[in-house]
Symmetry: C2
């Protein structure tokens, strides 16, 4: 029992009968998901993924990761959105937010192709100078602007450095199984390819090759990651499960007028898990002018920035707090004889105890301040537990989205800025819009 939902801090905010009232709706959402009869049901590949994945490809991922480790000091991961956040989130959670700075026997990993900033890309290129690098380019179509631009640049860099033959041994393409320009190019050039499945949307793709290859390169145990998710897929079944309860709770909060959910952690290594969560829920539920705005914080750091607002500002939010029971590393705080700083009251014990007391103190303070606190207890931060957490959130997101009456699996709004950008850049096929948009610029 790695993960556990603790709803006991909610007693002044949510009554037992409210859960009862949501149960039929939660059940309906669950049935729509199980029977694959709901909106977006072409994208349910993630449901059985943790057990039903391609074992042959999984073995190839491990081999490719080994090859990258043996031949490179740096892995460049090119991808955006779901082709970026999942891998980075797991690596930082399990290894470190300072992964690239720590002494280690695995390559540094830089994520590019997730913005159009030439400054950022130039800086990564500078870091790569005189280093052996491999590239994992991740794009289902191969035409998404951000990763495609970055791939052009890194492909050229590799071919200049290693020759065309050498480069093809160092480029790994995670893309569509059959079609698309990246798949065509990979086949033509002879890159090893991995599959972005047709029925798994980007934000649900961390447990496919999209996430698994970079995660394996960082030295994470991807078997344990999948096992955690597989166990979760068996555990979170039926409306009494913690996952369904969390989905119901989110909708209770929304119906009460709470417009913001803050995902809270007390470990800086969870910063990118927060970002992954924001995409998962924001993109799944933020449509048809509906949805809870997903936000996040890392405490106690952000208690000294957003803490004042959460304690006493507009009462628009609830918090979902990840309570990690056992730290990855600990430090024993020694008694200081002089005690100039008066801190001996917290010494003679592990620092993790102080962190836990900060969390408990904050749970009570924010409850007192009128901010509902949902707590997700987690045994520790490792591959297995993160695998479970990922599946927990994915399934909760699907159920929660269906309870809100939206299609949790599409993202039509993401196209709007792209269309405008294409028109402003004069992309063939978008010329009609160009003049009209140009006239609107201020």
């Amino acid at each position: 029992m790695a993960l556990k939902l603790n709803t006991e801090y909610l007693e002044n905010f949510v009554s037992a009968h409210e859960f009862e009232g949501m149960k039929p709706l939660c059940k309906a959402a669950d049935e729509v998901l199980s029977s694959k009869s709901g909106l977006g049901n072409d994208f349910l590949g993630w449901v059985n993924l943790p057990t039903n994945y391609d074992k042959e490809e999984f073995a190839r991922i491990k081999k490719a990761a080994q090859k990258i480790k043996e031949t490179s000091q740096v892995l460049i991961v090119i991808g955006i959105g779901g082709s970026y956040l999942g891998a980075r989130a797991v690596i930082e959670a399990v290894k470190s937010s300072l992964y690239n700075n720590l002494p280690k026997d695995t390559p540094d990993i830089y994520f590019v192709g997730n913005s159009i900033s030439p400054t950022y890309l130039s800086q990564v290129l500078e870091i790569c100078k005189n280093k052996d690098i491999c590239v994992n380019v991740i794009s289902k179509s191969g035409t998404t602007t951000e990763p495609a631009v970055a791939f052009r640049i890194f492909k050229k860099l590799l071919e200049d450095k290693y020759g065309k033959e050498g480069a093809k041994e160092r480029i790994f393409a995670t893309t569509d199984r059959k079609v698309g320009v990246l798949k065509q190019e990979a086949d033509k050039e002879g890159y090893e390819t991995f599959v972005v499945p047709d029925d798994v949307g980007g934000r649900f793709s961390v447990l496919t090759a999209v996430g698994l290859l970079p995660i394996a390169v960082a030295g994470c145990d991807i078997d344990a990651l999948m096992q955690g998710a597989a166990d979760a897929s068996k555990k979170y079944v039926g409306v009494e499960s913690d996952c369904h309860k969390y989905a119901s709770l989110r909708n209770i909060m929304y119906n009460k007028g709470k417009s913001i959910e803050m995902l809270i952690s007390y470990e800086p290594t969870m910063t990118m898990i927060n970002e992954w969560f924001k995409q998962l829920f924001g993109e799944s539920e933020g449509k048809d002018k509906k949805g809870i705005f997903p936000s996040s914080a890392v405490y106690s750091t952000d208690l000294h920035s957003m803490g004042q607002f959460v304690q006493d500002g507009s009462r628009v939010m609830f918090e979902t707090v990840i309570d990690v029971k056992n730290p990855q590393q600990d430090i024993f705080l020694e008694i200081d004889k002089e005690n100039n700083d008066g801190l001996n009251f917290l010494a003679n014990q592990n620092m993790s105890i102080v962190n836990k007391r900060a969390m408990q103190g904050t749970l009570l303070a924010h409850t007192e301040g009128g901010v509902p606190q949902i707590v997700i207890e987690m045994d520790k931060i490792d591959e297995y537990n993160i695998g479970e957490l990922i599946y927990f959130f994915e399934k909760a997101c699907a159920i929660s989205g269906y309870m809100l009456g939206v299609n949790p699996f599409n993202q039509p709004g993401v196209e709007s800025y792209k269309k405008n950008m294409f028109a402003l850049l004069g992309k063939p096929g978008y010329e009609d819009m160009t003049a009209e948009l140009m006239a609107k610029l201020k």
Copy 2:
């Protein structure tokens, strides 16, 4: 004219008469600030700081920075909240979000004492192994838990490594001018000290020694930073100024029911400026159950995570977009003869043009989607412009807070979690609360 407010994208959201209607209120707020007659008027030292700073100390900061650069590979900055975010924000904006990974002739800089995570602290300690380090401990009182714990550990590390005499040459304390345990300790041990002024709150302190010493160590030009702020302090005077207009706009948005402001940038180097902004506004306005919830994003990265929500989710937010006119570095996108990816339509020009088109396309798309867009145009990201931006936001925050009727300079809510934490840890003086709080834990 480095910074300019562009309100023209707001035409469908805010009428001219609304600005007119806010003017008397803005004027009242401005008068309260100028005459130092408003709530929190003990903390207005930041207003004249850019011209009225301690020149002797400023020269000492530069000397200390030079000494640190010459003797160390790593600078450890110990501080939380305003003693953390400002320095990190400026360094990352001006230098890089990858500052520690870039080849350079200045020390790596790690920020600790901003959380109670033993995992994070252990990892930084591991990175410091076998490296020469200096420490800048920043705390007005010296008793704030997070930095005080970290300082105990690093002080011991330095004394073990360099001896007590050697360590004192490597520890720089930024603290109260006269009182407090850190000041006492610094005097006793012989550390060089710098001042956290009495009349400048933490979130307004980046242009004091609090921010300036680490910023100078990173090789930033702190004269230019101060000059940008000094020029801003002359420019943003009177209710017609862009700064006052922005403050009025925020209150117009709030009065229309917008509960979230997202600060948007298209440069990853601005990520920590976003975090600094969130503290500045969140802590200043988030009180008495009021205030706009500050949030942020870096596009186009987050257009592929939060973009769907902003385009079509709950209409609860407005965006304030930093439009940087000239990139720090650029990359020329070459035509690719094969054009497999069909991207030649955006080649044969600088990548920064594509980034700009993405911004313009997004401004139009989000406007169309019903999200009001405030634009702050900025010449480029350098010390001078960041200095101006800092002062712009500080003054806008003061005016905006007064227009909301709050004290923009206190943060009483931050004490709540601390009190509970102390009681749960059995700190002397808090024993009364301990049993009661223990009983409330679930």
